[in-house]
Structure formats: C-alpha cells, structure tokens
C-alpha cells in the first residue's frame, strides 16, 4: 500500500516535470515583433476616453490614434496628420492642411470633417488631456483643410491641443452619447501607425498590429506587445522582452550586457511645498535663506545615490529648451542662511533661532510619493531635517499617508511638505499651472497658489497668451527668474530614469524632447517605430537572427533541472522504502 502510494506520487511528480521538460518555451514568432515590459500592466483600454489619464495610459493609446502635430527627439512640432499649418494673428485662427492619403483603420479616408468633429465632440464631452476652453470652433474649408478659431490668444496651443488631442473618426463617434461607456470595436479605430488587436485587463497585456496603409509608411515592425512584468529588468535580461525600465543602480550592469541604456532627461521635479501664508514662511528673505541652507547635491548623493541632478530654482527643467539662462541660484551656504534669518529678528541661542523666547520651529510633512505611477518611499525628510537644523531651525518631521499630506496641503494645514511632479520639460504652461490656481479646476496639492507678486502674475499671463514666439520666450525666461526669486515652492532635484532596450529588436527608442504629447517622460514615442524603407530592410535581417537565437535558447530550457528533481525524488523514495519496514 505504502509503496504504491509513494510510487504513484513519484509518477505524478515525474509526469508534471516531464510536461515541463517538453515545454518548448514558446518562442517569439519569426515576424518582427517588439515586446515591452511594464510593472503595472493595466493602463486601461487604449482608446482616448478609456485609457487611464496618466502618462502610460496615453502612450498605450497614441499608437492607435494620431494627433495633428507631434514631437520627436529634436524639437517640435513636426507634421503628423497635418502636413503643414499656419497661424494668422489678425483673425486668431490656425489653418491645418491634412495628409491626403491618411486612412482610418477601417478603410475610410481621414478628412477635415473628422478634425472639426473631434473639436466639437471634445468640447461637449471634456477629454482630460486637452481642455478646449481656448478654442471657439472649427470650420471645414476643404476636404483636407480645417480652420480652427480661437476664443482668445492661447500660446500653448500647438503642444497642448495640436500635439495632444487624438483625432476621432466622425463616422464612428457621431452616434456615441457617452464616450466613457463606449467599448465596442469602433472605440479602437484610429488612423495611427498601429491597429488595435487585443487588450487583456487581467493579464495587463496589449497587442498592436502594424497598419499597412499608414500614411507615413508601414511601421518597421509587424507587432507591438506590452507585457506585465513583476520585475521588468529581469524580464529584459531573461530575453522575455526587448524593452524595460531598469533600476538606476543596475544601469551600468545592464549596459555591459549589450543592451542600449537610455538615460532619461530630467523632467520630474522633487520639490518642497511652502505654506507662504504662515510666518515666517511668508517672508521672501526667509524662503531664500531656506534655499541657502539646503544642499541639493546632498539629496542627489544620498537619496538617489548619485542618479540625479540638482534642480533649477526656476521650476522649468534646466534641460528644457525653455530654461532661462540666468535663473537666480542659491549655492549651499549655511552661514549666509543664518545671517539672513537673523535679519528677521531671530536670535541665535544654543544652536536654535528664537524670537520672543520661542524657538523657530517648522513642521515638515513627508509621505510616499508616486513617481511615474509607482509609490516611492521618502528618503529626503531626514536629510532636510539635518540641513535645516544646522542653520538653527528646529524641525518636526512628520511622516503621513500620501493622501493625508495632500489634503493637509490643500487645506493650508502645513509648514513645509515634500512633494513632486512631472511636466517640467514640456510647454512652460506648467509654470502657470504650478503657481496659480487655474480657474474652475480642483486644487492640486502641487500648486503653490501664490498670488503675491504682480510681476509674476503679469509674466504668467504673457506666457499663456503671447503669440509672438520671441516675446513669449522672453516672458518664459523672466517668469522663471522671478519664480526663483519669489520661491512659491523650492525645487530640490531631478531623479534620473533609465530605460534599456535590446538593439537586436531593430528599434532605436529615444526620449522625446519635452516629453510625449503634453510632456510624458517615457521613451516610447511611436515615431521610433516609423522608419523609411531602407532602414526596415536592415532590421528585418537583424531581427530574424534574434528570433532564431531565442528559439534555440528556449528549447534547451528545463531539461537539466527536471532530471535533477527526478533524481532527488527517486533517491528520496528509495531511502523511504528501505526505511519503511523499520519500527519506530
């Protein structure tokens, strides 16, 4: 009985193992296919209204839907659906000439009517990524020419609307009353380089197929797949995917293994929110003293282990094309900070500043901060506490849930709070959004709501409405300088993000200048997948070799471990059988 039991157990175990042995490790198909790993997986259905309104959600959608203009690794805007365009300041209108050979994935031609329809539709059903208050209406003046009337000068138009608003097919969407409920096949018909093939919410996977009739030429790969991975970097190393984000500390190792590592531009800002309604933080001199007391490099060295860069005090990323060349700087100087604080009536007593017998004490709120959709624990609170205590400010460091910190900041119930946000590489409109409370919008915990400087307000107004590029650039530069002087919030540092891809897959990924669309800092621009004919020939060869290599590597999979496990099991069973007759 016992032997039968053990024998059957071994049989079952061996059967399972044999099954595994035979698993031919389904290899990548011979077609040109690119697989991208992502930790979260599910970013919503890849349709404009259904994709989650976060960067990766937009990226999943942008392969299927094209906008009027686009950006690449140089400077934008570059033509996409619109071959050329013109702005007329007298009338305050934009005229776009569309590509005549553009087609929807269902074969219908793309016309000016679709663009006009999209604007009307999105005005009626607000689309999170583009606020169309600045657009009055669109008029069709030819089968492929559309005229967009503005309701007032709006300088960020090209990036904010032209380069972000996905064009919808009128023949499908005209009957859709509630876009949030529209999940039928039509919701995935766009005119972009890739056709929607599949999305699995539960597995967090996406599949796109190349669109043969794409107006800029067929994409250089046949299939694009997004895969959810517990550890994207491991999936890349293991050959399961061709593209993944990598941990900063591992970037060199990964580069040494033959992968191409892309080092991100610095478009994300860790900053210190300041309650400028409270004493002494309402004083500009005190805020400037804080800057002198803060050693940005120490944050980069300790918190990011060197994988980052000290931030510009003018909010806009120092790597942005909009960065001002002469933003006021506050080099680390604790003595100067102390000197400035003492001018405010504070007295130095036993290492702490006091006023009227009360010590100078501030509370700093810290929490897990979502960086690129991933919650990241705070490492900066302690560093900040040390730095500020050196200049005689007593710090009460309080760690709370992110949402609680957000609520406290929104309700002005804080002194200082460590926070962070992206978008500092795209259109300088971010300056306006992060300083002033945008009318009609819900208060964001990252907005300083600073209204004390007339000069800054005027400059921000110019920044939003000045249509002359040179004058606008001047306003953008000057507003950064004033921002760095007034300090509605203090920028601390920019973390460096790393992505890596396998060069064998034949796609050269790159970071988009200013970020994809409104400033998404993910190096997955569809332009990388659209190449000219000559280029795709080379790639075809390169990829075929990879596919074969993957195949052979995969076939040799789990034979060795399987045999080992069988051997161990058998040995164990034999020992057991011999022992089974012994008395306890």
């Amino acid at each position: 009985m016992r032997r039968i039991l053990i024998a059957s157990l071994i049989l079952i175990a061996s059967a399972i193992i044999c099954l595994c042995l035979l698993t031919p490790a389904i290899s990548a198909a011979a077609e040109r296919e690119v697989r991208i790993a992502d930790k979260a997986g599910d970013w919503g259905n890849p349709s404009p209204y259904l994709a989650y309104s976060r960067g990766p959600g937009y990226v999943r959608m942008h392969f299927i839907f094209d906008t009027l203009v686009w950006k690449n690794e140089t400077t934008g805007p570059i033509p996409l659906l619109a071959e050329d365009w013109e702005y007329s300041p007298e009338e305050d209108v934009y005229v776009f000439n569309l590509a005549e050979n553009a087609k929807w994935h269902d074969g219908e031609p793309v016309t000016a009517d679709d663009v006009a329809f999209t604007i009307a539709y999105m005005k009626e059903h607000p689309y999170g990524w583009t606020v169309l208050d600045s657009v009055d209406r669109a008029e069709v003046i030819g089968p492929h020419t559309v005229k967009i009337y503005m309701s007032g000068p709006y300088a960020p138009f090209m990036e904010d609307i032209g380069g972000t608003m996905p064009i919808l097919p009128e023949h499908i969407w005209k009957d859709v009353a509630n876009p949030m409920d529209f999940v039928e096949a039509g919701a995935f018909i766009g005119c972009g380089p890739f056709k929607y093939a599949d999305f699995s919410k539960e597995h967090g996977t996406y599949r796109y197929e190349a669109f043969d009739e794409y107006y800029l030429g067929r994409p250089i790969i046949d299939r694009l797949i997004y895969v959810k991975a517990g550890d994207p970097q491991m999936a890349l190393q293991h050959g399961e995917v061709d593209f993944a984000d990598v941990k900063p500390d591992m970037a060199d190792t990964i580069g040494g293994l033959g992968f191409v590592v892309i080092e991100g531009p610095h478009y994300w800002n860790k900053n210190l929110m300041i309650n400028h309604n409270r004493e002494p933080l309402d004083n500009i001199v005190f805020r400037q003293a804080l800057c002198y007391a803060i050693n940005q490099s120490e944050f980069v060295d300790k918190s990011l282990r060197g994988h980052g860069k000290p931030a510009s005090y003018g909010l806009i990323s120092s790597e942005s094309v909009w960065a001002s060349p002469n933003v006021p700087d506050y080099p680390y100087n604790p003595d100067k900070a102390k000197e400035m604080i003492s001018t405010l009536g504070y007295v130095w007593e036993d290492g702490v500043f006091t006023k009227d017998g009360k010590p100078l004490q501030l509370q700093v709120l810290v929490s897990m901060i979502g960086v690129g959709g991933q919650p990241t624990p705070d490492r900066d609170g302690e560093i900040l506490k040390n730095q500020l205590e050196k200049v005689g400010i007593r710090i009460d460091l309080t760690s709370l849930d992110t949402k609680v910190v957000d609520t406290k900041v929104i309700n002005w119930d804080f002194d200082l709070a460590i926070s962070g946000h992206g978008g500092i590489g795209g259109d300088p409109k971010i300056l306006y959004e992060k300083v002033v409370q945008v009318p009609g919008a819900k208060t964001s915990p990252n907005t300083a709501r600073y209204n004390k400087s007339e000069e800054l307000n005027e400059l921000l107004d110019d920044l939003m409405h000045e249509m002359d590029p040179e004058k606008r650039l001047a306003a953008v530069h000057e507003s950064q300088n004033v921002y760095a002087r007034e300090l509605p919030a203090i920028s601390l540092y920019y973390p460096t993000w790393y992505y890596a891809y396998s060069p064998d897959a034949g796609v050269e990924w790159f970071y988009t200048t200013g970020g994809i669309a409104k400033g998404i800092p993910i190096p997955q621009n569809k332009i990388a997948l659209i190449g000219d004919g000559a280029m795709s020939g080379e790639i075809a060869e390169a990829t075929e070799t990879t596919a074969t290599e993957t195949g052979t590597a995969a076939e040799a999979t789990p034979i060795a471990p399987g045999l080992a496990v069988i051997a161990i099991l058998t040995a164990f069973a034999i020992v057991q059988m011999k022992r089974s007759n012994r008395k306890p």
């Binding site: 157990l9 399972i16 595994c20 698993t23 031919p24 490790a25 389904i26 930790k39 979260a40 599910d42 919503g44 259904l50 989650y52 309104s53 976060r54 607000p126 999170g128 606020v131 949030m180 699995s200 919410k201 539960e202 597995h203 967090g204 996977t205 599949r207 299939r223 959810k228 991975a229 517990g230 550890d231 491991m234 999936a235 190393q237 293991h238 050959g239 399961e240 979502g370 849930d401 992110t402 949402k403 609680v404 957000d406 609520t407 929104i410 959004e433 945008v438 009609g440 919008a441 819900k442 964001s444 915990p445 590597a553 999979t557 789990p558 060795a560 057991q576 089974s580 008395k583 306890p584």
Partner: protein, 324 residues
C-alpha cells in the same frame, strides 16, 4: 437539532451583516478625500464639474446610511459595484482574477497539505531520530524565511541565472499557443510561483501535523493496535493520523483567507494575475468599489468555507457532534 441549525444560521447571518458593514465603512474611513485620492496621480486637470460628477457616480454625495442601504440592495442583486478607475464591473474583474488564484493557491494548498501530512506523520513516527531531527530543523528554518525572500531567490537563481523558467505572468502573452501547448505554457509559468507558495506553506502544515501526531501516538489505542500486530503503515495513517488531522481542518478554514492575502506578495513578485495582485492594485489606486468588492467576495468565501469545515468536523470526528 433544528434549534441548533437555526442558531447557526442566525450566527452566520449576523457575522455576514457585521462584516459587510465594516467592509462598507472601513474604506470610507480612509483619510483624505476619496475622490481626490483616487485621481490624484492623474496628470490631467480635474475641473470642479468633473469632481462633482465623480462624487455623484460613486454615490458619495448621499448620507452614509443611504449609501449603505444602496450597497446592500445592489449586493442582494449580485451587483458588486463598478470600478470607475478600471472602467469595468468589479464582478468581472474579480471573476477574471479568481481562476488564476484558484489554480495557484488551490494547487499549492493541495500540494502543501499532502507533503505536510506525509512528512509530519513520518517525522512524528520517528520522533527523536535522525530523519525527524533533520526534517524538523529544515522546516523550522524554512518557516523562518518569508515567502518574499523565497520568491526573489528562486527568481534570481532559476530565472535570471539558469534561465529555466519565465520571470513573469501566467502565460506567454500572444504566443498563439493552443490546446496542449497552451496548457504546457501555463504550467511552465506556474512552476516558480507554485513552488514558492508551496514551500512557504509546507512548514506550517508539517509542524501542525507533527505536533498533533505526537499527542495521538501516545494514546492507548495506538498501543493496542500495535499489540494486535497491525501494520505500521495502517496504524500511522488510519488510526493515528485520522485523529490527528482535526486541527488541520481548522487550519484550512482559517487559511482560506490566504486565497486572497497569502498569495499577495508572491503574485506581485511574479506578476501573476490573481486576486492578490488585484487587491494590491485596488489599494494602491484607492479604487473604492474594487476594494469593497474584493473584501465582500473574500468575506463570503471565508464564511462559506467555514460552514463547510464546520460540517466536515462531524464527519472527520464524530465526537464533535456529541459536544452539543
């Protein structure tokens, strides 16, 4: 008898009600504005209108007791709510994840139970011997290692270093495999998470059975059985283990909650699309309806299994029936 059944039914109903109430209340007690919390990570601008619309969609504008009433009514209709973050019905999301969890956790339940019982019985039978001592030390050691560590180590060794098994997911996405190939692919992906989960569960089962067996093998009836010359194997498994298994049944009842929580870490490491991962995402996104749905399903599941275990007790050990 009827009285007793009535009492049991009332007790279970009351438990369900209290749990559902907590289930409803707890997510709402989370600090911060629920809507802002849910959408704070979004990069788009939220207008006052959108905010008001979201509050209305989630029914958060109603007084608490009305919200609870609506929740109960919807639940009675089998409606677990709608996740606005995922744009999908909560029931669909849970049903999508449940089969994978059942495959992973269910299989490892069975494997670890069989291994735990066999090893525990054999070990206690040879108590004090070399086999027992080695196994006990090994099991205590294994018990001390968190499943997280086992998972990461096995990933590093078997996936990254040797490259034998895939690192992620429950199958190769879009491989085009069908039939037997598909099953093989799924099993191949199952190996590492299953081994990790099973390894982390065996020590508990083993220790429980071993200790429980140590008590039963001292019973006079075991001595009698041996005196009668019954084969050891029969005494071990039919006389002693049969009586030692009762605490194990209790453990199964308790551990059913593991279906959801226990595999959370392992599902996250291996990106296995089960309920654990779904729960993790629901919590990190503050997806109120989804969180509530998963909790409701798990509450009902745990209670159902407990009823089954309650009934099973009487089958496993008739003495329980006399206790009333």
């Amino acid at each position: 008898m009827r009285n007793r059944t009535m009492k049991m039914v009332v007790a279970y109903l009351l438990t369900i009600f209290i749990l559902l109430f907590l289930n409803f209340l707890l997510p709402r007690l989370l600090p911060g504005d629920a809507i802002l919390a849910m959408y704070s990570g979004h990069e788009t601008l939220m207008t006052e209108e959108m905010y008001a619309e979201l509050v209305r969609m989630h029914g958060l504008d109603l007084p608490l007791h009305e919200q609870f009433f609506i929740y109960l009514t919807e639940l009675a209709h089998g409606d677990l709510g709608y996740s606005y973050i995922c744009h999908a019905s909560t029931a669909d999301l849970i049903m999508g994840a449940l089969p994978w969890t059942l495959l992973l956790v269910g299989t490892s339940f069975i494997l670890s139970a069989v291994a735990g019982i066999v090893l525990g019985v054999e070990s206690s039978w040879r108590r004090g011997g070399r086999f027992d001592k080695t196994l006990l030390t090994f099991m205590l050691l294994l018990d001390g290692i968190p499943s997280l560590a086992i998972g990461i180590t096995s990933l590093t060794v078997f996936c990254l270093y040797f490259g034998w098994f895939p690192s992620t997911g429950a199958m190769t996405p879009y491989s085009g495999a069908e039939g037997i190939e598909y099953i093989k692919d799924v099993l191949w992906h199952l190996v590492l998470p299953l081994a990790t989960l099973t390894l982390s569960m065996i020590p508990g089962d083993y220790l429980l059975i071993r200790n429980s067996m140590l008590l039963t093998i001292r019973e006079p009836y075991v001595l009698t059985a041996r005196a009668k010359g019954i084969k050891n194997r029969r005494i071990k498994y039919l006389h002693a283990a049969r009586n030692a298994i009762l605490p194990f049944a209790t453990r199964i009842g308790i551990r059913i909650a593991y279906l959801i929580t226990g595999a959370l870490f392992i599902e996250t490491i291996f990106a296995y699309p089960g309920l654990g991962l779904l729960t993790y995402h629901a919590i990190s996104n503050r997806d109120l309806p989804l969180m509530q749905g998963i909790l409701t399903v798990s509450v009902i599941l745990v209670l159902l299994i407990n009823i089954v275990v309650d009934l099973m007790y009487k089958k496993i050990d008739p003495r329980v029936g006399y206790a009333y």
